[in-house]
């Protein structure tokens, strides 16, 4: 297996706040990598650094061996990295099909002349794109909803549409930012299976931010744990679950817990 994404000692500051400190991350082809950590650990910041939303101060991000720090957002998308958002960001008054078509933007070429003349090349391109869109909507389970406005879709379907839109980019790496947020256990289970299917059927790598431990542990090949912007653990899910530093980051130190239980702070003399 070869490295698809290689992040080395990435540092990002917001004024005095050290959002990421020398973070390393390696994603191989056809791998599902989990990214976990308490709130404010820097997970979404890492996503934003990878996709060019933030410029990191130090470190490097290599995608297929090429540096992508300094590239613009759309250029990073064009090399094959697509993402979804923690709080859904569809184009609300575009239809389901149009949302996916926008994701397909980079795979199309029509410029002003092509659009105005609607020449053979443009018509072919549009026809291919339309087929692709239908295929993707079927894949995520939204067939028959092509003309629905994105904002009229139920919440779970909006999450699926966001994934379809990201897949239309035809990425090599898909970044999913808490795809099961706000879902009930059944929906979560279905989506977890679906994420595995994306990897198995489309053969791409996935980096997944997730709060639901069962989801992450169930489908990830490797898990990376961030706490206060520092990578505190990395490894296969079984090892992560037992890692004392991870347990500490999530639950606090054992001695602290004991002390808190025996003497609540407000009773301290």
């Amino acid at each position: 297996m070869t490295a698809l994404l290689e992040i080395r000692s990435l540092t990002k500051k917001f004024g005095g706040l050290q959002a990421l400190t020398k973070v390393d991350l390696l994603i191989e082809e056809k791998m599902i990598a989990g990214l976990i950590g308490p709130n404010g650990a820097g997970k979404t910041t890492l996503f934003n650094a990878i996709t060019g939303v933030y410029a990191p101060e130090e470190g490097s991000i290599l995608f297929l061996g090429k540096q992508i720090i300094g590239k613009k957002r759309h250029e990073i998308t064009a090399v094959g990295i697509a993402r979804t958002f923690q709080n859904i960001r569809l184009f609300p008054s575009m239809s389901t099909a149009e949302n996916v078509l926008v994701g397909h933007h980079c795979q199309m070429q029509a410029g002003v002349w092509g659009a105005v003349s609607r020449n053979r090349k443009t018509r072919q391109e549009e026809a291919i794109a339309e087929r692709k869109v239908m295929e993707l909507l079927r894949f995520v389970g939204l067939e028959g909803q092509e003309d629905q406005l994105a904002r009229n879709l139920p919440y779970g379907d909006q999450r699926r549409l966001e994934i379809a839109r990201a897949l239309a980019v035809e990425p090599k790496l898909l970044l999913l930012d808490e795809p099961t947020a706000g879902m009930n256990p059944q929906e979560t289970l279905a989506l977890t299976r679906f994420v595995s299917r994306i990897r198995d059927e489309l053969g791409l790598s996935i980096l997944l931010i997730e709060h639901d431990m069962r989801v992450v542990m169930g489908i990830s090949d490797r898990v990376t744990v961030l706490d206060h912007g520092i990578r505190i653990a990395e490894g296969p899910p079984e090892a992560i679950q037992k890692d004392p530093r991870v347990i500490e980051a999530y639950l606090g130190r054992p001695s602290e817990r004991v002390r808190k239980r025996s003497r609540p702070p407000h009773l301290n003399p």
């Binding site: 996709t51 939303v53 613009k72 957002r73 759309h74 998308t77 064009a78 697509a82 993402r83 958002f85 960001r89 569809l90 184009f91 609300p92 008054s93 575009m94 149009e98 078509l101 926008v102 994701g103 933007h105 980079c106 199309m108 029509a110 410029g111 002003v112 092509g114 659009a115 105005v116 609607r118 443009t122 391109e125 549009e126 406005l149 904002r151 839109r165 980019v169």
Partner: protein, 331 residues
């Protein structure tokens, strides 16, 4: 009885809608094309004037309606088109480039102006963009007013060449009416094709959520510049037709009121909607001509109309399907 009548009307309307679209268009164009001999010189002149505003409205609609960039300095590109033609086709410098060669040249110059304005300001959003473009429009007008050596200042440029085809000279309002009609049809064709393409989708996505659009691979700066340049090029064409029609142009023809009128007609007609822009131009530019007698109340009526529209029909008279939905959201 009343109900039956309403049903009958509704049925008639449905049957009108069921006529194929190309036939509807052909009927409308045919109707507009036979108007001049029926309505006489004066009304042809008024409609030609409305037509120039339709052209400007369709151009600005690309910027404001499709791409969602509030540009209040649109008149600058209109002025660039008009003065470029006046420099190169009048006794001022003794140069007489043919009108038809100047049409693409003026469109290109205005587009260049649009791109040059765009580069520094397109990182701004909303209100800031509006203020800077407003300033740009005024700068161009003030330059024209003061560069006496080039523009004759307030005395204007006179005896601008009319368009000719062989020995035929465009002279009467009817001739210009058809020229402007052709320009409008061309503009409608180009912009509706653009709207319904990869480019149009990128503009809408950008308008709805700029950051998400960028992360879907849309080069925001490029598409904003493109909207600015394309929008400006139509103003350039409007400007050259205006200069050729009037035969003389003055700085006052390019006041900020032109930009304001064009924005108003887009808002009243239905932002983002091409039929809306056409209707908006008729209502806003045509009706005041009809009501010449009440000219002093014109601004009052404008203001009142805008306020009433915003309260009762914020999407405009003939809204685009999408905008209608966007505004419904807030109800």
């Amino acid at each position: 009885m009343e109900k039956n009548r309403a049903e009958w009307l509704n049925r008639q309307w449905q049957s009108v809608l069921s006529i194929p679209r190309w036939l509807q268009l052909a009927l409308i164009i045919g109707f507009v094309a036979v108007l001049p001999p029926l309505i006489g010189n004066y009304w042809t002149h008024v409609l030609a004037y409305v037509g120039i505003y339709v052209l400007l409205g369709i151009g600005l609609n690309v910027v404001v309606g499709f791409a969602g960039l509030l540009d209040l300095g649109y008149v600058a590109f209109y002025a660039i088109g008009a003065y470029s033609y006046a420099f190169l086709a009048s006794p001022k410098f003794g140069i007489h480039v043919p009108f038809w060669a100047m049409i693409p040249a003026c469109a290109a110059l205005a587009a260049l102006g649009g791109a040059l304005l765009g580069i520094p300001v397109l990182r701004m959003r909303g209100d800031y963009l509006a203020i800077v473009t407003l300033g740009f429009g005024e700068i161009i007008r003030i330059l024209i007013n003061n560069l006496d050596a080039l523009t004759n200042g307030p005395k204007g440029l006179l005896r601008i060449d009319p368009p000719t085809i062989g020995s035929f000279h465009f002279a009467t309002p009817t001739h210009f009416y058809y020229l402007i009609l052709a320009g409008c049809l061309f503009a409608v064709f180009v912009t509706s094709r653009l709207n319904d393409s990869r480019i149009g989708r990128a503009w809408i996505a950008m308008r709805e959520d700029q950051d998400a659009a960028a992360l879907m691979g849309i080069d925001i700066l490029k598409y904003k510049l493109m909207a600015f340049a394309i929008g400006a090029s139509f103003a350039g064409v409007g400007g050259i037709i205006f200069a050729a029609k009037m035969g003389s142009i003055f700085p006052d023809d390019f006041s900020v009121m032109v930009s304001v009128n064009v924005i108003c007609l887009i808002i009243i007609g239905g932002i983002g909607s091409i039929p809306g822009v056409i209707l908006g131009a008729i209502v806003l530019i045509g009706v005041p001509e009809v009501l010449r007698a009440a000219a002093i109340y014109r601004m009052l009526a404008f203001g009142l109309l805008l306020v009433l529209m915003m309260i009762f029909r914020p999407m405009g008279i003939l809204p685009s399907a999408r905008r209608k939905l966007e505004l419904k959201k807030e109800d």
